[in-house]
Every structure is written in structure tokens, then in C-alpha cells.
């Protein structure tokens, strides 16, 4: 059907190879690669589908999954952000894809089941809008000409015009605007050409458009999520103000409008990314920011990227200094507590403890700081309380609740249920009986460290060399 485009592409395979090399290297420091959040069935005559849980296709030598073809559209940049490998003053090879060849590459990878779809970001080649137009053109070719129904994650460049954000959002499954630096002072110091308004503007627009489509699902926990709530949009006498229509609409009119505009806007929601360790910001600051992003913008996810010192800059950690991988790992654990376990940022860290304990996971740390909540009775506690026990996850809670309908749990049942007893046993009673070995007051922390510390750390020990190097 698209034989000529395909032949053209194959003729230029070598040139594409060169671009692919450069633009993969340029894109890989963005951590997001998930293809989750939206279920879409295939259609006759088209190719592709999307899976709610996402699908990983491979794992690179660093243990990160490849789900999407993650490349930059271009690495020619007019900005000069200190932390970025593509900044204007960096000496790297520069190139750009063409919309047709990138679409063709995506299609050929996709039909061979190498990838779930395309993750497209870009340096600022000229202006944000000019670059955005080219990216949008790529999505259009995929969706409209090639009948591509796979996953598209579009990165929005700060400062992109609202009209273009809207067009991109209707072609992509997920959109994201990267915050990168957790404070506006950091932004001013390290990325002076980016303005906070340029980042927050598109974010707000994305949330609002999704609110209009009644498609917002926020973080929370499995048992009570923060669902869509109207107050995000202005209300008056039973009508809601629709920024895109420019007028007040009743609930029914709103449904009709969403139905009529059948191309849903970013059905898999929006995400963002923060860089960890490039600035002095504490974990408290980072988690408080994430928490407010979840509450205010209904982000599906906030990604953390441990800063890898690749640039010589007096403003940043020196080249070759350690990458804060363990801190990143702990932040993700804390993030999980906020998204799936109903914790708030100030429970995980507080002004007394502004940084996460690197030795113990944040749930254990929280439990040790709150002895008044424990031990908890497995056969009585509610779902949200059970979720707070170290060593108990969502699946264990569901199983506990299910079995309790029929019979009380015995201690021996708990292992079969999948609980991590070596942690949990110090925090629970089962039908009134405590099974943890006697640990002296104040010694529990050391005790837990001794039995789990080694394992938790070794998972992350990075080797500084690539295999065979």
C-alpha cells in the first residue's frame, strides 16, 4: 500500500541508522518508557492496539525496559540548559529525522513486535512551535495515513502554543511536560531560557481538557482513588465553564460535547519528570512537589531521573561523581506509597526528616516512626490500614479481605497469601497473638536492617562497565 515510502526508507537505511544512533543517545536520559494507561482494541484495516497495563519488549544492559521507540525528533537546540547533553554549547553531532522516515521506522519496528509505539521528544530546533509542528506531522502520518493504533507518548516542549498542544493531545495517548528542576530558582540558574509559565501553562491546559472530557483519574490507593471532581472547572448554577468552548455547559451538554469530539485527548493522561541530584533540593521538597502535581494536575505519574554528570559545569556536580541511584530508588518507593497506598508527602518525609532513609525503605521508616499504629490486627483492620503494614502490598490486602469473608486468617495462612513475613511479623497480631521475636525497644530498626539491608542494596549495585568493555 505504501510501497514507495517503504522502498524509499529501505534505500536510505544507512542514513536512518546514523540518525537513529545519534537521536537515541540524545533521548535515553529521559526515563519514562511506559506504554500503559489506555486500552484500545484493534480495528479492521488498521494496525495496532494499546494495552492498559502496558507491555515491555526488551531490557537494555542497564536493566531498564524498552517499551517504546524512544528518540528525539531533533537534537539541534537553541537552548543552553546546563544539565542537558544536547544543550547548544555541547559538542555533539546534530541531526533531525524527517516525519516520513520516522513514521516508517516506527511502523517497521512495530509490526515486528519490537516496540509498543513511539515516544517522541525533541530539542528546541528554532522555536518550540516549529519543532512541535514537525512532531505533530509525524503523529499525523502514523495515525491518519498508516492507520497506526499503537501507543504514542508525546513530549510537549515548554512554551508550545495551546493550539498545537491540543492537536498533539488528540493524536497521542499520553503527553508530558518535563519540569526537570524541582524549584524555580534551579530553573533560573540552570535553564534560564525555560520559564515556569511555559511549563505550567501546557500542564494546566492538558488537565483542563481532560476534565472537560471527564477523563481524569488521579493517584490514590486501590480502594479509594481521587476521582474526577468538578471544582477543577468553574461552576455556576449547575453549569460548568468549558474553557475550550468558551461558555457554560450543563452536565448533559458536556457529555454530548465529549461524545461529539470523539478523538479523546490524551486518554492515557499526563506525566512529568524531575531530575534528582543536580540541585540541592531535599527529598521533602521533591515529594511535596510530586504530591501537589498528583492532586492539582491529576498526573498519572511523576518520574525521577538520577542526574548523571556528563557536562562540565561549575554549577553542577563534577563529571564522574556518583550517580544517586539509591536515592532515586527510595524516591520511587515513596512515590509508590503516595500513588497506591494512600500516603501523603508529609507522612513519608517531614521537616524533622527532610530526606528519605537510604538504608530502609520508606514504609518501614514510617512504621518505625509511628509505633502508636502497631501492632495491627490482621483479622480486624480495614483495607487502608492494612496497606500501611510493611511487607503487605495491594495484592496481599485483597487476598486478606477475600479470605476474611469466609474464615479468619491464621499465621500460617499469611505466607501463602504472599505477605513478606520477615518484615510484617513485627507489626501485626493474628487473632490477638504477636509472632515477632522479642526485640528490645528501640532495637527494631537495627534488627530489620540486619535481615533485609543486604538484599535491598545489592539489587542496585551498578557496575560501571558495559558487558565486554
Amino acid at each position: 500500500m505504501f510501497f514507495s515510502a517503504y522502498n524509499e526508507f529501505m534505500k536510505n537505511a544507512e542514513a536512518v541508522m546514523e540518525k537513529l544512533k545519534i537521536l537515541t543517545d540524545a533521548a535515553k536520559y529521559d526515563v519514562s518508557c511506559s506504554s500503559s494507561g489506555h486500552e484500545r482494541r484493534g480495528k479492521k484495516g488498521q494496525i495496532g492496539s494499546a494495552s492498559k497495563a502496558g507491555i515491555c519488549h526488551s531490557w537494555t544492559a542497564d536493566g531498564r525496559c524498552i517499551s517504546l521507540l524512544k528518540v528525539l525528533y531533533s537534537n539541534r537546540c537553541v537552548y543552553d540548559c546546563e544539565y542537558c547533553i544536547n544543550r547548544r554549547s555541547a559538542r555533539v553531532e546534530r541531526t533531525s529525522f524527517m516525519p516520513e522516515e520516522l513514521a516508517e521506522l516506527t511502523m517497521e519496528f512495530y509490526r515486528r513486535n519490537y516496540i509498543e509505539g513511539l515516544f517522541l521528544s525533541s530539542a528546541v530546533d528554532g522555536t518550540p512551535d516549529r519543532t512541535g509542528e514537525e512532531m505533530c506531522r509525524t503523529f499525523q502520518i502514523l495515525r491518519e495515513d498508516r492507520g497506526f493504533l499503537g501507543y504514542i507518548h508525546a513530549k510537549i516542549i515548554p512554551g508550545t502554543s495551546p493550539e498545537l498542544v491540543d492537536r498533539i493531545g488528540r493524536l497521542a495517548d499520553r503527553v508530558s511536560v518535563n519540569i526537570e528542576l524541582p524549584s524555580s530558582e534551579g530553573l533560573e540558574k540552570l535553564a534560564p531560557q525555560k520559564k515556569p509559565e511555559g511549563i505550567l501553562g501546557p500542564m494546566e491546559q492538558i488537565t483542563q481538557t481532560m476534565a472537560e472530557q471527564k477523563a481524569l483519574v488521579g493517584a490514590g490507593n486501590r480502594f479509594s482513588r481521587y476521582r474526577y471532581r468538578a471544582p477543577l472547572l468553574e461552576e455556576e448554577g449547575g453549569s460548568t465553564y468549558m474553557p475550550s468552548a468558551g461558555k457554560y455547559l450543563t452536565d448533559r451538554q458536556q457529555d454530548a460535547l465529549a461524545h461529539q469530539k470523539k478523538d479523546r485527548f490524551a486518554p492515557a493522561g499526563q506525566t512529568t519528570q524531575l531530575i534528582i541530584g543536580a540541585t540541592e533540593d531535599s527529598d521533602l521538597k521533591i515529594l511535596a512537589l510530586s504530591h501537589s502535581l498528583y492532586k492539582k494536575f491529576y498526573m498519572r505519574r511523576v518520574y525521577f531521573s538520577a542526574y548523571i554528570p556528563l557536562n562540565d559545569s561549575p554549577l553542577l556536580p563534577a563529571r564522574g561523581s556518583a550517580v544517586p541511584l539509591l536515592r532515586e530508588h527510595r524516591l520511587y518507593q515513596a512515590d509508590w506509597l503516595m500513588r497506591f497506598y494512600g500516603f501523603t508527602a508529609d507522612e513519608v518525609v517531614d521537616s524533622g526528616h527532610p530526606n528519605l532513609d537510604l538504608e530502609l525503605d520508606p514504609k518501614v521508616s514510617w512504621a518505625l516512626r509511628h509505633p502508636e499504629c502497631f501492632p495491627m490486627e490482621i483479622n480486624k483492620a480495614g483495607a487502608e490500614e492494612l496497606l500501611r503494614i510493611p511487607g503487605v502490598g495491594n495484592l496481599s490486602v485483597i487476598r486478606i479481605l477475600r479470605q476474611r469473608k469466609l474464615a479468619p486468617l491464621r499465621y500460617d495462612d499469611l505466607k501463602n497469601i504472599g505477605m513478606v513475613l520477615k518484615r510484617a511479623k513485627y507489626f501485626i497480631t493474628v487473632s490477638g497473638k504477636y509472632y515477632g521475636s522479642a526485640v528490645k525497644d528501640g532495637m527494631l530498626r537495627d534488627h530489620l536492617l540486619m535481615q533485609s539491608g543486604g538484599l535491598q542494596l545489592s539489587f542496585l549495585d551498578p557496575q560501571t562497565k558495559l558487558p565486554g568493555e
Binding site: 479492521k44 488498521q46 524498552i66 519490537y114 558487558p467 568493555e469
Partner: protein, 254 residues
């Protein structure tokens, strides 16, 4: 009594039938493993679809449809000894009724949970790790061909996903270990035996596309974060032979 069956799920259901109507089973073995010396007298069970259906509908009606589904999936896991575990589960289910699956703490139920988990996890992995190649089809039309050798017998579990995804392609998924393949065209598919050494001819452009993917794969790794143990955790070595990329590939110096 030790029952020997033909290695199909229907055959296993017939063993359950014999367990009730003839003599209690002490062991159930597939034909392929029946060479080992047994302790009890042995009997070959003939697979009859009427008996299999009776057992299946008894499970559905007296326990639940989900229970039957869980038995089938546990069976696909290919774990040796799963036959007796399924038997215990089914008869425990007959005594407990539809609520049997709520008893997560029970070792019998837990075992079936684990077998089901094994099958779903590998199915999920295969959805991502199958690699299709464009090969010359019989009628001159190129078609997509993928080979794999999963631990569980799961072609039929991945088919719905690919039928839905490749609405305009014809494709073949070849289970090399079990010497069979699913052939699909126009939304329909059949399972046929296909020898282990079958390997169709690639189209002329296939190699170029593979090279692009290998390049992408190698370059996407971040040098400062390399962690082969973590990589192998997610993507065990036994699957590597069927990939296009080489997870251990050396990266050329910058």
C-alpha cells in the same frame, strides 16, 4: 491406581472421571513420562469427549466457571505433578463450593494460584518478547513469522492479542519446543504441527531492519547505570535465543 493419559486437558478430565467412577487415583501421568516404574497398578485412560465434558460442566456448575479456567491454565503450566494438584483442587472445590478461590491461605489453592501466576507471567512476557520477521510466504505475499520455546504451552493464550493487533497481516507463531504453530489469516487461525527445524526465508529487506533494531537496542543503554543482573531478572537468559537483539552485545567505543 496410577492413570496414564494422552497429555491433553480433556485426557486429564477423563482421569478425574475415572477417579470417581472407577478407582481413586494415586498418580496421573502423561504418556510421555509413563516409562518410569510405578508403585501402584497402572491403567491407560482413553480420552472420551463425553466424559471430559461431564467433568468440565460439573466443575463449572458446582464450583465456578473461573475455577475451570484456573484448572486449564494450571494445566498449561507444564509443571510435572500438576495433574494431582489439579485433582486435589477440584475435589476440595466440590466440598467448598464457589468460595474455594477465596481461601488464599490454603496450600492446595495456593499451589493453583502459583501455577496460574506462572502461566500469566510468561504469557505477558511473550507478548513483548516475541519477535516477528518478514518472510516469503507461499503465495508471494510476505508474512510475519515468529518462533519461541516457552516453558508453558501458551500459543493459544497469546493469539487473541496478536489477532487483535495485526488486523491486516497474516502471521505464524511457532512453538519450537512443542513442534507446533498457529497460522493466522484474515482474523482466523488454526494450530498445526510444524517441525523444530522449520525456518522460512527472510525477505531481502529484513536484515536491514534487524540491524536498525540492534543499533537502537545497544544505544539505548546508559553506561553509568549498567546492571546485567537486573536485566537478567526481567529477561531471563533462556529466552535470549529467540530475540533479534543480543542482550550482551558489546557497545562500540564512542
Amino acid at each position: 491406581m496410577e492413570y496414564v493419559y494422552d497429555g491433553t486437558f480433556d485426557g486429564l478430565l477423563c482421569c478425574l472421571y475415572a477417579h470417581v467412577h472407577e478407582e481413586a487415583a494415586q498418580a496421573i501421568l502423561p504418556e510421555a513420562d509413563a516409562g518410569q516404574l510405578g508403585l501402584a497398578p497402572r491403567k491407560k485412560v482413553t480420552t472420551r469427549s463425553r466424559e471430559a465434558e461431564r467433568v468440565a460442566s460439573a466443575i463449572e456448575n458446582k464450583i465456578s466457571r473461573n475455577c475451570l479456567r484456573r484448572c486449564y491454565r494450571a494445566f498449561l503450566s507444564g509443571e510435572p505433578g500438576r495433574e494431582m494438584e489439579i485433582l486435589s483442587y477440584v475435589f476440595y472445590g466440590f466440598s467448598k463450593g464457589k468460595d474455594v478461590d477465596l481461601l488464599h491461605g490454603d496450600p492446595i489453592v495456593r499451589r493453583i494460584d502459583l501455577l496460574n501466576h506462572k502461566v500469566s507471567r510468561e504469557t505477558q512476557r511473550m507478548l513483548g518478547m516475541l519477535r516477528f520477521s518478514l518472510v516469503e510466504g507461499a503465495g508471494g505475499e510476505p508474512l510475519l513469522y515468529a518462533h519461541f520455546s516457552p516453558d508453558c504451552d501458551l500459543i493459544q493464550l497469546v493469539m487473541p492479542h496478536f489477532l487483535n493487533r495485526y488486523r491486516r497481516e497474516s502471521f505464524v507463531i511457532h512453538d519450537v519446543r512443542r513442534e507446533k504453530a498457529a497460522f493466522s489469516a484474515h482474523g482466523r487461525w488454526v494450530m498445526q504441527p510444524l517441525p523444530r527445524d522449520f525456518s522460512p526465508e527472510h525477505t531481502p529487506d529484513e536484515e536491514a531492519c534487524r540491524a536498525l533494531w540492534r543499533r537502537y537496542f545497544t544505544n539505548a543503554a546508559i553506561r553509568e547505570r549498567v546492571n546485567p543482573r537486573c536485566q537478567k531478572n526481567f529477561m531471563p537468559r533462556r529466552y535470549w535465543g529467540h530475540l533479534v537483539e543480543n542482550p550482551e552485545e558489546k557497545r562500540p567505543p564512542i
